[in-house]
Amino acid sequence: MSGYFRTRYGEDAALLDTRMQKFWFVLLVLFLVPYPFLVNPLWLDLGNQVLLASIGAVALMLLTGYAGQISLGHAGLLAAGAFTTGILFKELAAPFWITLPASAATGAALGMLFGLPSLRLRGLYLAVSTLALHFIVIFAGSEYETRRGFSTGIVIDSPISDPRAWYFVLLAAAGATLLFALNLLRARTGRAWRAIHGREAVAEALGISVHRAKLSAFVVSSTLTAVTGCLFAYYRGFVSAEAFSLYLTIQYVAMIIIGGMGSLLGAVLGTVFVVLFPYAIDSTMSALRLSERFSSVIFAINYTAFGVVMIAFLVFEPQGLVGLWRRARDWFLLWPFKQRPLR
């Protein structure tokens, strides 16, 4: 309805097709590149956290938002990547270019394992089996910690120490992940994922191998998640089983819900929201001069507020931030009219 028609195949295949999109993209790049030189260390760290978590959120979005497979084992997969890195570093003093592919391989293998129940199970049962795998991975990790005497956690020396250098590494990684996901979703694999999300029987009838599509969704998602875990280990310089609690899974699931299911933009927006949320509460508290009184229970306030926000999105805006954004955009596009014309 925008009066814009694609007349060549090149235009059809382009990721940025309108002039407006190109303009906004350039603006985004112009914001992201000088960002680390303009802000203080806290905001730089927050930017890094957003970039890092967005890789994991995109991975979960591919699996849950597009392929429609519920997973509550995200923290377990992150832990698997982080522990692979930590163990290889401690035992073999392996450098970065070995630990990263090794983490990815662990992720792929675990994705295969996580995915196997999905061939027989759907919905709730699948969620439960991934939850079970989460506990088993965490148990294996903490067992390694106690057996080898790293009961407080594994310390890792990072090859990159400057946070600004980290920013560009993470920016490149997140950008590459997004590009990969965008292209994968347009290709045969991604279309197959959407088809099995819609209705499995019909997808099967259309010649899509449901088993292969499900397993590939799990493998791709887990590989990306394990890579996130590896980067997380290097970024923090520290791996411990306590960091990968069920709360982390809930946070990642919240990212894709708050962002909006079935949208990569949603995954990124949700990540920004969830990562900044505790800091927003913190600064609100100190602005209200309550932080001394509640300093010991600040995490409880986070939990409560987080629960309220998640429930609010689930009940009032199931489309998430992307839904809000689309509605706002339509309002401006269609003004003074209210409804989209019928096609």
């Binding site: 849950t64 519920i70 196997l116 129940p117 061939l119 027989r120 199970l121 759907r122 919905g123 709730l124 049962y125 969620a127 439960v128 089996s129 939850l131 079970a132 795998l133 506990f135 088993i136 148990f139 067992e143 106690t146 499995e200 449901v210 069920l246 709360y247 809930i250 699931v253 919240a254 819900i257 010991s296 229970v297 995490f299 409880a300 306030i301 986070n302 939990y303 409560t304 507020a305 987080f306 629960g307 309220v308 998640m310 429930i311 689930l314 009940v315 199931p318």
Partner: protein, 289 residues
């Protein structure tokens, strides 16, 4: 002998908790992951009523149980009611969000230190001898209340009007609604009952081991028992609890005490691979590919 007693006590803990999972799943096809938090809330309720009615322990327990029922019904009308017709994922996530919310709110209200409701009630946890084995009096109370709850539920579901309505709503909500059964009332009652059983479990565990945040983990660990037995079968929940408790106690005793947190989930995975609908679950209930 001591091992057998330990298995029985743990099994009755699991059975008491997972009949809430089974009730909610059987009637409304929702998996409640906020169950551990509901247990903890009821235990804090007992802590509150114990100080309020000090000197009248029976009154305090009854008040706390009533409070638990009210909380369950309130949860349905405040949140789960809006989730009817949404996807499975949305409903499960709503319960997860509720759990996080409750956990935060409870820490804000009651603090983080361990409470001992039994001491506030003015009772002691005496240890009794049965043959060579020993059992705590709270453990005995656990066994008794599990028997009471399951017996009561069996009679309620078979013989009473509301019980039959609940079963009908679980079998086919549309047909049940067309025959004049008010689904919202039935679902609310289910949540109330589930919160009640969770509350009993929470109070007893808190009396036994003190009231702290590990209660939530116990709630989550009981879930595999429900699934092993079959998510829609109360008999299954009993058998599943026995299986999971036996596996856990024996492995802890003979292999490694650290295994305690994973054994239920390992049993669960084995069950999902071999027989996903559980020992006593109905096969066609499972949404299979």
């Amino acid at each position: 002998m001591q091992l057998a007693v330990n298995i029985l006590v743990l099994a009755s803990i699991y059975a008491l908790i997972c009949c809430g999972y089974v009730l909610i799943y059987r009637v409304s096809r929702v998996l409640s992951l906020a169950h551990g938090e509901l247990m903890m809330l009821a235990a804090y309720g007992l802590y509150g009523t114990a100080t309020l009615f000090s000197g009248h322990p029976v009154l305090a327990i009854a008040a706390a149980a009533l409070l638990a029922v009210a909380v369950g019904i309130a949860v349905y009308f405040a949140l789960m009611w809006r989730m009817t017709g949404e996807s499975v994922l949305a409903a499960v996530l709503a319960t997860i969000a509720l759990g996080i919310l409750l956990r935060g709110a409870m820490i804000l209200m009651f603090g983080t230190q361990t409470q001992h409701p039994l001491r506030d009630l003015g009772w002691t946890n005496a240890s009794l001898a049965i043959g060579e084995a020993r059992i705590s009096s709270v453990g005995l109370a656990l066994l008794a209340s599990t028997a009471f709850v399951y017996g009561g539920l069996a009679v309620f579901l078979r013989a009473s009007r509301w019980g039959i309505r609940m079963r009908a709503a679980g079998q086919h909500p549309l047909l049940a609604a067309q025959r004049g059964i008010g689904l919202h009332g039935v679902y609310a009652l289910t949540w109330g009952l589930a919160a009640f059983t969770a509350g009993i479990a929470g109070m007893l565990i808190a009396c036994d081991a003190g009231l702290e945040s590990t209660l939530v983990i116990i709630g989550l660990k009981a879930f595999p028992a429900a699934l092993v037995g079959g998510l829609d079968s109360l008999v299954g929940a009993l058998v599943g609890s026995l299986v999971v408790a036996a596996a856990e106690v024996l492995l802890i005793h003979y292999v490694d005490p650290l295994l305690s947190d994973v054994v239920p989930f390992a049993v669960l995975l084995a069950m999902l691979i071999v027989r996903p609908w559980g020992l006593f679950g109905t096969r066609e209930e499972l949404d299979r590919v």
